[in-house]
């Protein structure tokens, strides 16, 4: 696999559920080693888009590929090279942190699982509760465990759905720091769905803004700020969510 192949490529992705259109003609291509934010309000289609990238949801039409592999049909060829973290899934609560990481390490075919667990425990400050049941941990500790699980196989592609949701600002900032370090060290591609504009502004070199299943804008944070004449991404987000005129009125 060469670096010419897009890490993630979505081509006119459409997902229609019985209740309506969740994703409506979304296209983008993320180069390897990039970090991109996927922003949008509730129901904008972020989670469905990420689920289609993971192959958990089949597109109604269009195509999504990861490292050149069609995720609707051949996802098992590439799943071991990617990983994810999401607040919509949990690690089994009765298993200890070490047991959970061991099971997932084996599922991902990690060669020396115990050594990898030791490494991650040190990097993510998990050592003291490795042998505690996962269900007994605080929200912040659980997030770190989920992050450890998502890094177990040293993924080339990391999909993060609101990785700092429900974390206090200090822990959230710490998690962002770990993600930045991981990307720098591994030249990994990260796609991050978030409601947290400060997080996106700090981490992402590109932002894709979604609204009602469509891409409303797609650019670097700096260019978005300039284009909308705003100082923060939060204001840009409000412009897009409410429509430019309404947001300006509200700001005034």
């Amino acid at each position: 696999m060469t670096n010419d192949v897009a890490a993630i490529a979505a081509d006119r992705l459409v997902k229609i559920y019985k209740g309506g259109i969740a994703v409506n003609g979304v296209s983008f291509s993320l180069p390897q080693g990039s970090i991109t934010g996927l922003l949008g309000g509730n129901g904008a289609g972020k989670t469905t888009t990420i689920a289609m990238i993971m192959g958990l949801v089949m597109p109604t039409s269009g195509q999504v590929s990861v490292l050149g592999v069609d995720m609707a049909r051949q996802r098992h060829r590439v799943l071991h090279r990617m990983n994810f973290e999401s607040p919509y899934v949990d690690m089994p609560m009765r298993l200890t942190v070490r047991q959970n990481l061991r099971v997932f390490g084996k599922l991902y075919g990690v060669d020396d699982v115990e050594e990898r667990i030791r490494e991650l425990a040190e990097q993510l400050d998990l050592v003291e509760f490795l042998d505690r049941p996962t269900g007994k941990l605080s929200a912040g500790q659980k997030t770190r465990v989920s992050l450890a699980k998502s890094l177990l196989n040293k993924p080339e592609i990391l999909l993060l759905d609101e990785p700092t949701a429900s974390l206090d600002p200090d822990t959230a900032d710490w998690v962002r720091g770990r993600l930045e370090t991981y990307r720098r060290q591994r030249h990994a591609t990260i796609l991050l769905a978030s409601h947290n504009m400060a997080e996106v502004e700090r981490l992402c070199e590109r932002v894709i803004m979604m609204k009602r299943g469509k891409i409303e804008d797609d650019d670097t944070p700096q260019r978005l700020l300039e284009r909308y004449g705003r100082e923060t991404l939060e204001e840009v987000f409000l412009d897009i969510a409410r429509g430019r005129g309404e947001a300006r009125e509200a700001a005034q």
Binding site: K15, Y17, A22, T47, T48, A51, M54, G55, L56, V57, M58, H76, R77, L79, H80, R81, N83, F84, S86, Y88, V89, D90, M91, P92, M93, R94, L95, T96, Q99, R102, V103, F104, K106, L107, Y108, G109, V110, D111, D112, R116, P133, K149, N153, K154
Partner: protein
């Protein structure tokens, strides 16, 4: 990159082993889960065992047919607990909201199914071995005395239980936890139809045709033939095996279709009701 070769493979015993390890940790962490495996089979066996003892003392036919009730209840439990063992292991992932993690991992659907089959055997052994030993001690009924016949009965019943378990798991994947009730109740549909406690001949003709379409019917008829007439009916076992292979194949195909449907409908990311 670590472990790349092993994860490329279409079928990996390493990944199956990882799932078995996951269920081993779970069982080890929860004694109520272990107790539950033994509790109902023991209650059932005791109730039917004492009933059998009473009937033995009061009816000449049943005196000759010694062990048919208790044999039936033990074999029925193999069928029922085998399916439950499969389905509960599957449900543990839904209850733990872990299905997304598994579906996103390199674990293949058929590897997952094989891990659940192994766990159904483990759960069955934990539940049934003590119960069969108590049946031997209390009622002098030696299930293991059936020898090769027991192996044939067991193989056919466990095959059926897996086929039903696979089907139920597919329905839960597709329809969410609203379909969980099926895991606990579906086997009771087979209880009257597979003639666990009475011969097929008491059914009207049309219902006999339904009963003979179900593999466990052959097992329970075979058990009665063995215990009452002391004849091992290999023909019945072969017929059951043929039907089982057919139903097992169908259930795997339906499971894969339901998994595809779940991916189309987005059910895999909505694991609630």
């Amino acid at each position: 990159m670590s472990g790349r070769a092993s994860v490329y493979s279409a079928f990996s015993f390493g990944r199956i082993g990882a799932m078995i390890l996951r269920y081993y940790y779970l069982m080890r962490s929860s004694w109520p889960r272990l107790l539950e495996l033994i509790y109902w089979p023991m209650v059932q066996m005791l109730m039917w065992g004492f009933l059998q003892s009473y009937v033995d003392q009061n009816a000449s036919f049943f005196a000759k047919a010694g062990g048919t009730f208790i044999g039936a209840v033990l074999l029925w439990d193999i069928l029922f607990r085998g399916q439950l063992g499969f389905s509960v292991s599957f449900l543990e992932e839904m209850w733990a909201r872990n299905m997304g993690n598994l579906m996103m991992s390199p674990l293949r659907p058929l590897e997952f199914v094989v891990a659940l089959m192994v766990m159904s055997l483990v759960r069955l052994a934990i539940g049934m071995v003590p119960v069969t030993l108590v049946a031997l001690w209390l009622f002098n009924f030696n299930l293991y005395g059936l020898g090769f016949a027991l192996a044939a009965f067991f193989a056919n019943l466990i095959f059926t239980s897996w086929a039903v378990g696979i089907l139920v798991s597919g329905l839960i994947l597709r329809n969410g936890m609203g379909a969980e009730g099926l895991a606990w109740t579906i086997m009771f549909l087979l209880l009257p139809l597979t003639c666990v406690y009475y011969p097929v001949s008491i059914f009207p003709g049309w219902l006999q045709a339904v009963a003979w379409a179900l593999p466990p019917t052959y097992v329970f008829e075979g058990m009665r033939a063995l215990l009452i007439e002391h004849v091992f009916r290999a023909d019945l076992m072969l017929m059951a095996l043929a039907l089982n292979l057919f139903y097992f194949g169908i259930s795997v195909i339906v499971f894969l279709k339901l998994l595809d449907a779940a991916r189309r409908h987005g059910s895999l990311i909505q694991t609630g009701e």
